[in-house]
């Protein structure tokens, strides 16, 4: 395993340096960078599967000359699972990028792009296998910085620069909180090694534990994109090249989920009061619902997908939060179930979100726009991309028998088990969270019906869409791989659940594999078959069989009749794309029902023909929803700091002498305090 790990790290390292050594040969740089990343991804998949199945965690430690810093690595089942997620996505995305980056060649430095891409994957992998707090912070920071450079790939656009800047600021605020979290652990442990965090010399006082909980939630929550710390996501994810967005949205934000589980269940030993779990649950429910509600109002396909990441992080946290509540009351089986559901959704979301972003990238590469209103009719022009996007859409909308459905079903079951809890308040709150999850799920369905329906169906809405052609084979293979993984994760929970059980067992202290799987693994049955059961293979067979029955019945009652093809009835006019429902029109009822949240502003201007005010010559329609969080939460903070900076400007004269005086005065003051 150690050799495999070194080979993996070597591939990424070579992927960073080799492309830089071959300037001026973009095609070779592209093949080398993505080929090595893909190879590393493949190695990562093998390594992580071995890590998941082996009894002993892989430990590796290289001391450094810097104080406190040790390059320590540990691959336990939890780390292995996240390596698997990163590597699977990395493998598929690398294949896609082979084709996708062709259009960037010549416009961008392929060497820099390839090196950064490999660096990004490497830093994410190191984040989840780091076994030392200091090392973790270094690679965490590396991950943020590398992804910042990737976000600003198209830096000549002002909005991309703004997105990048916003991202950078948010990440550093988050990292500050993470550093504080680790310092709390360091205080009692006396060392930055994770082993010392787990077993400090003196146990952390209660107040400090709570403090660590909150700091970690804010710090890692910023990366995960929980509401209200999600504001950077809809800027940064669409700004990056699509294959990077796929990794950022699918995988990078999951490293924060990893870190949260590591801190709460590992460092803090899974010992916490129930209100911690409740806080996570509320954060999850709110993120899920607001994420999907804002996604509905987006007509930029990539922003829409970015908001859905907020939603899915919420769903993951619903599972984990419910698990924490059960854990606090000592209901270990249910706690393990909640954590398992959250982890299952983590890998599912990584796969279908990466797939959807790659699909969006494919659309972007042929139409050169992210605006859904300029798509349309693409399923007939890009049948494969459309098919894979549909698989992703059905999965994210959690429709049976896909993977998204399996994990959402598990979250529902966890929430339904709340009647075992002793407190009436929680007994009522968990079902309400389930109702919010139901609303989220069906709004996601509406949102992806919109995204797929407006983009791929009916007539093309613009010249770009009319002339669209299917993308290159490499891009199709990348998407097909992810679509395949989605299908397998949906139909084979009997394989996935035992793996996940290996992760949750050491964290919770209870193995639930035998309690979740029933009927030789063909059905999921949390608690028992009498309480609840689900078998996606059976459902898939039923659906296939009954669809065949429909065909047979149609043939039996009607015989063979060939359909007649004719244009759609347009009330006597020829049907044009202008008559189709638009994305904005599609969500109008939802906008109206939730108008208290959206506070929409609509601007309609009409220019009339000169002869009469009864005939409009041209109309402008503008529609905005209020960015509530930015306006009421972030703007005041930014305004405060700007004013403070303004007030303090008088000390910044630009004179060197004055600055030397400041340094001298500070030094004297410090010496006085020290005395």
């Amino acid at each position: 395993m150690t050799t495999l790990l070194l080979a993996l790290l070597g591939c990424y390292a070579a992927g960073i340096f080799l492309p830089l050594c071959l300037p001026g040969r973009p095609r070779i740089q592209n093949v080398i960078a993505n080929g090595l990343a893909g190879a590393a991804g493949l190695l990562g998949v093998i390594l992580s599967l071995m890590g998941l199945l082996s009894a002993q965690p892989l430990l590796l430690s290289v001391p450094s000359t810097l104080p406190f810093l040790t390059f320590a690595i540990q691959i336990d089942p939890l780390a292995a699972f996240f390596v698997l997620t990163i590597s699977l996505a990395g493998l598929a995305v690398s294949i896609f990028a082979l084709g996708y980056l062709v259009e960037y060649s010549g416009r961008r430095s392929m060497g820099a792009l390839g090196a950064l891409y490999n660096g990004f994957l490497l830093s994410m992998t190191l984040v989840v296998i780091a076994d030392d707090g200091f090392f973790f912070l270094v690679v965490w920071e590396l991950m943020s910085l590398v992804s910042y450079f990737l976000v600003v790939t198209e830096h000549e656009k002002a909005e991309v620069r703004y997105a990048g800047f916003f991202y950078l600021i948010m990440m550093h605020v988050g990292t500050a909180f993470i550093i504080l979290t680790f310092l709390i652990f360091f205080q009692e442990a006396g060392s930055f090694s994770f082993e010392a965090f787990r077993h400090p010399e003196q146990p952390l006082p209660e107040g400090m534990r709570t403090f660590a909980f909150l700091l970690a939630l804010i710090g890692f929550g910023t990366k995960a994109g929980i509401v209200p710390l999600h504001v950077w996501l809809p800027y940064a994810h669409p700004a990056a090249p699509s294959h990077i967005s796929a990794l950022m949205s699918g995988v990078m934000i999951k490293t924060a989920i990893y870190a949260l589980i590591r801190v709460y269940f590992d460092f803090l030993g899974g010992q916490f009061p129930w209100w911690w779990g409740f806080v996570i649950l509320v954060v999850g429910a709110v993120s899920a619902l607001l994420g999907v509600l804002y996604a509905l109002m987006e007509h930029d396909l990539k922003s829409l997908l970015a908001y859905h990441s907020v939603e899915n992080i919420g769903i993951i946290l619903l599972g984990i939060g419910a698990g924490m509540i059960f854990q606090a009351f000592g209901l270990k089986d249910f706690a393990a179930l909640g954590l398992l559901a959250g982890l299952y959704h983590t890998i599912n979301h990584a796969m279908f979100k990466a797939l959807l972003f790659l699909g969006a990238g494919a659309l972007l590469s042929v139409t050169h726009t992210r605006n859904m209103e300029e798509y349309g009719g693409l399923l007939r022009r890009m049948p494969w991309t459309g098919f894979f996007f549909l698989i992703g859409a059905v999965s994210i909308a959690a429709l049976p028998p896909t993977n998204g459905f399996v994990s959402e079903w598990l979250v529902f079951q966890t929430l339904f088990l709340s009647f075992h809890l002793p407190a009436l308040f929680l007994k009522l709150m968990l079902p309400i969270a389930a109702a919010m999850l139901a609303l989220t799920g069906v709004l996601a369905l509406a949102c992806f019906a919109k995204a797929f329906g407006i983009s791929f169906l009916a007539q093309p809405r613009s010249g770009h869409a009319r002339h669209a052609e299917e993308v290159s084979p490499a891009m199709r293979i990348g998407m097909a791989a992810l679509a395949g993984v989605c299908v397998v994760l949906g139909l084979a929970p009997m394989v996935v659940v035992p793996w996940l059980d290996r992760i949750t067992e050491p964290l919770i202290g209870a193995s639930i594999q035998g309690k979740v799987l029933a009927l030789d693994g063909w059905a999921l049955a949390p608690v028992n078959v009498e309480f609840s059961s689900l078998s996606t293979p059976a459902l898939a067979l039923m659906l296939a069989g009954l669809a065949a029955l429909g065909l047979v019945l149609a043939w039996l009652f009607g015989g063979r009749i060939t359909a007649r093809y004719y244009k759609t009835w347009g009330c006597g006019l020829n049907l044009t794309p202008r008559m189709e429902y638009t994305a904005i029109g599609f969500v109008q009822p939802i906008k109206r029902v939730f108008s208290t949240l959206y506070r929409p502003t609509v601007k309609l201007e009409t220019e009339f023909i000169e002869e009469s005010r009864y005939f409009a010559k041209r109309r402008w329609f503008e529609f905005h929803i209020e960015p509530v969080f930015q306006r009421y939460l972030y703007d005041p903070v930014v305004a405060f700091f700007s004013t403070m900076a303004d007030r303090l400007r008088f000390i910044q004269s630009g004179s060197l002498h004055l600055y030397l005086t400041y340094i001298f005065v500070t030094l004297v003051l410090l010496l006085l305090i020290a005395m």
Binding site: P400, V442, A449, E530, Y566
Partner: protein, 316 residues
């Protein structure tokens, strides 16, 4: 194995055969209440047979989604029907999914129907799809909560266990208050989900009001037949759910031919009764404006929540 296949086959046939009858019965009741004679109860069978024999016309702007949707809708609705105990409480396919799976199977059909509505490119289809999306969104939370309230009283989320336990009178009637509230909530949900008055009017083809009919406006021939049949089955699934979860008495708890025969007969009586009730309600109420549907479904949500609160308070 053979035994299991036979049982599943019988349930499939019962669902397929009874669905058009229920639709016909509701129409008949409405006609009589409006002092019309109305078409015969078996008219929907003739309609389906005719539609299957007609040549379908497919729009040239559509993709394979349009032609595949009727089959997906038919399959998902029927699959949902197979998860519900119809004439016997224990069925071989019950392990395939609990009540959440049922809800999401129906959602699968809705998803593809929404896509199909957008596919032909006419404004009517898009309008129907858009409205279906909001009605479905508002229905779901109330549905999940009412289902949970029922699941609590029976101590299971598996439909067969709920029905079986109730049929054998295991403790369910001890708290009728939450049970009745959940029933009321689920009834409202059923009306909304199946597109009945006061949420949608299945008898109208007026642009401004239709929801479901607008989505399927471009369908004809065998495709329309399958869509209509699936709509009938969906209605039947909800009626079965209400009948068997809240009044499972008479359902076969064993698999002897006699018990199953009685089960089917009792089932017919129960769904006929519910069909008459729905026909009466449709005649008594006017259709709500689209944006007033929120209030109705809000009431359903609150009822379901109250059912939950009452359950916990009564149990202490």
């Amino acid at each position: 194995m053979l035994h299991a296949l036979l049982l599943v086959g019988v349930q499939t046939i019962v669902l397929l055969v009874v669905a058009p009858f229920v639709v016909g019965l509701i129409r008949k009741v409405k006609a009589r209440l409006q002092c019309r004679r109305g078409a015969g109860v078996f008219q929907p069978y003739a309609d389906l047979a005719k539609l299957f024999r007609k040549q379908p016309v497919v729009s040239t702007t559509t993709s394979w989604i349009f032609t595949a949707t009727p089959y997906i809708l038919f399959a998902s609705t029927l699959a949902a029907g197979l998860l519900v105990p119809v004439f016997a409480s224990k069925m071989p396919l019950n392990f395939a999914g609990n009540i959440i799976a049922l809800v999401y199977l129906l959602a699968l059909g809705t998803f593809f129907l929404i896509l199909a509505g957008l596919d032909a490119g006419s404004a009517f289809g898009g309008m129907g799809s858009s409205r279906e999306a909001i009605v479905a969104s508002l229905t779901e939370p109330a549905m999940i909560l009412s289902i949970f309230a029922i699941a609590l009283t029976a101590g299971s989320t598996n439909l067969s266990t709920i029905v079986h336990k109730t049929a054998l009178l295991e403790g369910i009637v001890t708290d009728p208050a939450p049970h009745l509230m959940a029933l009321a909530a689920l009834f409202i949900v059923a009306l909304a989900e199946t597109g009945r008055v006061p949420v949608d009017n299945p008898a109208t083809h007026l642009e401004l009001t239709m929801i479901h009919e607008a989505m399927v406006l471009e369908y004809s021939g065998r495709y329309l037949a399958l869509v209509e049949w699936a709509a009938g089955i969906k209605l039947l699934v909800f009626l079965t759910l209400i009948a068997n979860v809240f009044a499972p008495w008479g359902i076969a708890t064993t698999h002897t031919p006699a018990a199953i025969g009685i089960g089917i007969l009792v089932y017919l009586v129960k769904v006929s009764g519910l069909a008459v009730l729905i026909g009466t309600i449709e005649s008594m109420f006017a259709k709500l404006r689209l944006f007033r549907v929120t209030d109705l479904l809000g009431v359903a949500f609150i009822l379901a929540l109250l059912a939950l609160v009452f359950f916990y308070i009564l149990r202490g």
